[in-house]
Amino acid sequence: MHDMSSHAAHHAPPTGFLRKHVFSLDHKVIGLQYYGLALAAVIVGMVLSWVMRIHLGWTNVAIPGLQFLSKNGAPGGVMTPEYYLQLMTMHGTIMVFFVLTTAPFAAFGNYFLPIQVGAEDMPFPHFNMMSFWVTFVAFLTLCAAFFVSDGPPLSGWTAYAPLSAVGSVAGPGQGTGQVLWAAAIGIFCIGQLLGSLNFITTTLDMRVKGLSLMRLPLSAWAWFITSCMGLTAFAVLLPAGVMLILDHVAGTSFFVPSNLVINDQLQPHSGGSTLLWQHLFWFFGHPEVYIAIVPGMGIVSHVLITNMRRPMLSHRTLIYSMGALAVLSYMVYGHHMFVSGMNPASSLAFSFPTLIITIPSTIVVLIWIGSLYGSRLRINSASLFSLGFISMFVSGGVSGFFLAQPSVDIMLHATYFVVGHFHLVMAVAAIFGIFAGTYFWFPKMTGRMMNESLGKVHFWLTFIGAYCIFMPFHYLGLAGNVRRYQGFVDDYLQPLIPLHKFITVAAIATGIVQFIFLYNLIHSRFWGEKAPLNPWEATSLEWSTPSSPPPFDNFGGQHPVVYHDPYQYGVEAADGKDYVMQTSPEQVKGGHDEA
C-alpha cells in the first residue's frame, strides 16, 4: 500500500450534525439513507398490498379502521372501487421506483461501488447528495397524493393516457393526484440521472492501481451496467412525465386524441396520440425491470462466490450476459403492447428479441448452477437468500416464454399471469437480492453481525410464503382472471375466488414474517455481536478496509493496490487460508488470474 497521508491530510471528515448525517457528502451515509428510504417505502407498499388483498378475498366487507385512512375512499371501512385502484397505483409506483430501484442499485451501489473500486468517494459528492435528496422529495411528492382531496391517481403505475391525461372527469384522483404522480416520477428521474452519472464515472475513472475493469467484482459490474441502463431509461421517462403534466395544466394535447366524450362531456383536447405515451413509457418501463433485477444478479453472484469458496465458471461470461440483457432490454419493450392496437407486424418484430433475451438470462442461470457443481457451499442467511433468488428467478423467468409470444399473449395479456410473472422475476427475486446483500454486508456497514438463526427463520418462511403467494397468480392468469379488478362480478371468475382468499392469507402471513427481519436489522445494529473485519473470509476490496464501518475515506489514508482478479477462492494461500485478498501481493498457487 502507498502511504497517502499527504493526501489524507487534505480532507478532514465533516464536523457538525447536518453534514455528517443529513446533507452528507459521504457515499456511505448516502447509501444508508437510500436504504432507509427503501425500507420506509417498502413498509408502506406492503401495507397497501395487504389492504388490497383483503379486499380481493372478501370484496365489500368493511375493513375496520380503513375509513380513517380515507373518509371518501372507504366510507364506513367499505373500500370503494376507485380507492382500490388508487392504492394499487400507489403500491406499484412506490414498489417499482422507491424500493426495487433504490435499494439494490442506489443503496448498496452507493455504499459499496466506491469501496470496491478502492476510491475514497464518488467523484461528485455534491451530485451524489442531491441525487438522494431529490429522490426523497420525489417520494414526499408521491405520498402527498394521499392527502389531496380526490386522493391518489387510479390509472395504475403505467398511467396509460388518455385516462391519465384528461383530468378528474375521468375518475377520482385523475386531477391533482395524477399531476403529483407525474411530478414525483419526473423528480425521481432527475435524482437517478445524477446517481447514474456518479456511478459511471466512479467505475471508469476511480479504480485504484491494478484494478482493471475485468478485475471488478460482479456486483460492481452489475451496478455499472445498471447505471448505464438508468441513464438511458430515466432520460426518456422524464420528458414523458413533463408532457403528461403539460396535458393536465397547460391544456396541450400530446397524449389526448380528439373527440373524447367523458361523462357526456366533449373534451377540448385534439389530435394527441395515446400510443405515444405507451411507447415512451415502455421504452423506460422494460429496462426498468432490468434496472431492478441486474443489481440483484450482481449481489447474488458476489455473495454466492464467497460462500461457494470458488469463482464463477466464467467471470467474463456473466458480465457479458448482464451486458446483453441491458442492451436487449431496449429492443423488447414492445411486448407490453402486443394487443395495444400497435401494428400486428411490429408485435411479431418485438416478439423475437423478447424470446432471444431468454438466452443471456439462461446463460446466467446455467453459470450459477454450473458453478455450484463441485463447490464448497457454506449455508448461511446470505447464501440461502442467494440460492432462493436463483430459484425465484427461474420460476419467474420461464413464464416469460408465454408472454414473449403475441399469439399466447392474446389469452394472457393483462391477466394475473403477467402479475405473477413480474412479481416473481422482478419483485421477489430483487428483494431476495436485497436480503442477501443485507445479511452479507451488514457486518461491514455496522461492525456487527446479524442474528443468523433469526435470519434463517426469516428465509424459510419468506421463501415458502413467496411461492404460496405468487405461483397461484399464474393459475389465475391461465384461467383468464383479469388484473386490476377490485372485485369479481364475471361468472367465469367466480370459481377462482377461493384461490384469491388463499393468496390473501399467504400474503398477510408472509408480510408479517418480514417484521422478524426488521427486528433483526434494528436489534443487531445496536446489540448484535461485534463483527470481525472479514467475517466471510472474502477477497474483494470492501473487506480490506481498516475498520467496519470503513473510515470516512474508506481506506484510512491509504490507497490499496490490486494484484488479483476479484475472486481468489479455493486456492492454497499462506497460513492455510483458502483465499487471497485482491490487495495481497502474494503469488497464488492454483489461482484464477486471467492476466
Binding site: 497517502m4 493526501h7 487534505h10 480532507h11 473500486v117 478502492g118 476510491a119 475514497e120 468517494d121 464518488m122 467523484p123 461528485f124 459528492p125 447514474s196 452519472l197 459511471i200 464515472t201 466512479t202 475513472d205 476511480m206 479504480r207 485504484v208 492501481k209 491494478g210 484494478l211 482493471s212 441513464l231 438511458t232 432520460a235 426518456v236 422524464l238 420528458p239 414523458a240 413533463v242 408532457m243 403539460l246 397547460a250 391544456g251 396541450t252 394535447s253 400530446f254 380528439s258 389530435g271 394527441g272 396520440s273 400510443l275 405515444l276 411507447h279 415512451l280 421504452f283 475515506d553 490507497h559 493496490v561 490490486v562 494484484y563 501481493p585 502474494e586 503469488q587 488470474d593 492476466a595
Partner: protein, 223 residues
Amino acid sequence: MATTIHEPPQIKAFEPRSNNSGNGGWRNLVPADGDLRDVKDYSPPPASTAIWVGLFAITMMFAAFTSALIVRQGASLDWQHLKLPPVLYLNTILLLVSSITLEMCRKPIARYMGGVRSEHHPGLWLYVTLGLGLLFVAGQYVAWRQLIAKGLYIWTNPNSGFFYLLTAAHALHVLGGLGGLVHVIRKLHAGVLRRSTLVATARYWHFMDLLWIYLLVLLWIKL
C-alpha cells in the same frame, strides 16, 4: 476521490496525475509481486468523462422529445406548421459567437493557470460568453412574447406546444451552462480552476449550440 474534490491541485502542465486513486486503467494489471513503477497508468479526470455521460443523457432526452414530435405530427390532422419568429436566427448567431469567445479564452486561461501572467486577465472573454449566453435566453423569451402576441399559446396547436416545450427545455439547459460558466469564473479568480473543469464546461457549451441548431431545423422543417 475526496482529495481532488475538496481541494483540487493547481493545473501543472498536462502530466497525468499519479500515485492516486483513479488510475486503474482499462487493462492495466499489477502482477503479484510486480514492480509498481513499471505500471504505466493514466485515466482521465472524472469531469471529462462525466461531461460525455451527461451529454449522452441530454441527447437521449431530446431524442425522446423528437420521436414524440414525429409521432404526434404524423398522428394528427390538426398540425398547423407555425412560422418561426425571425428573432430566433439572431439568437442562433449570438449562441454561435458565444462559443467562439469561449474558445478564444481557453488557451490563455490554461497559460494563466500555468503561472504565465499576460497583460489582460483571460477571464474577460468568459464574461463576454456569459453575457452572450444571457442575451440568447433573453432572445428566446422575446420569441415567446412574439408568438403570444400572435395569439399562439402552448395549447393553441400541437406545433406551438412542441415549440414552447423544446425551446424551454433547451433554454433551461443553457441556463445550466451559464451556471457552469459562473462556476469556472469563480474557480479562476480563486486560482484553483482545474483544466478538466474548463474543458468540460466548454464541451457542454458547444453541445448547446449543436442542440439548438438541431432543434431549429426540427421545428423549421415540415416532416
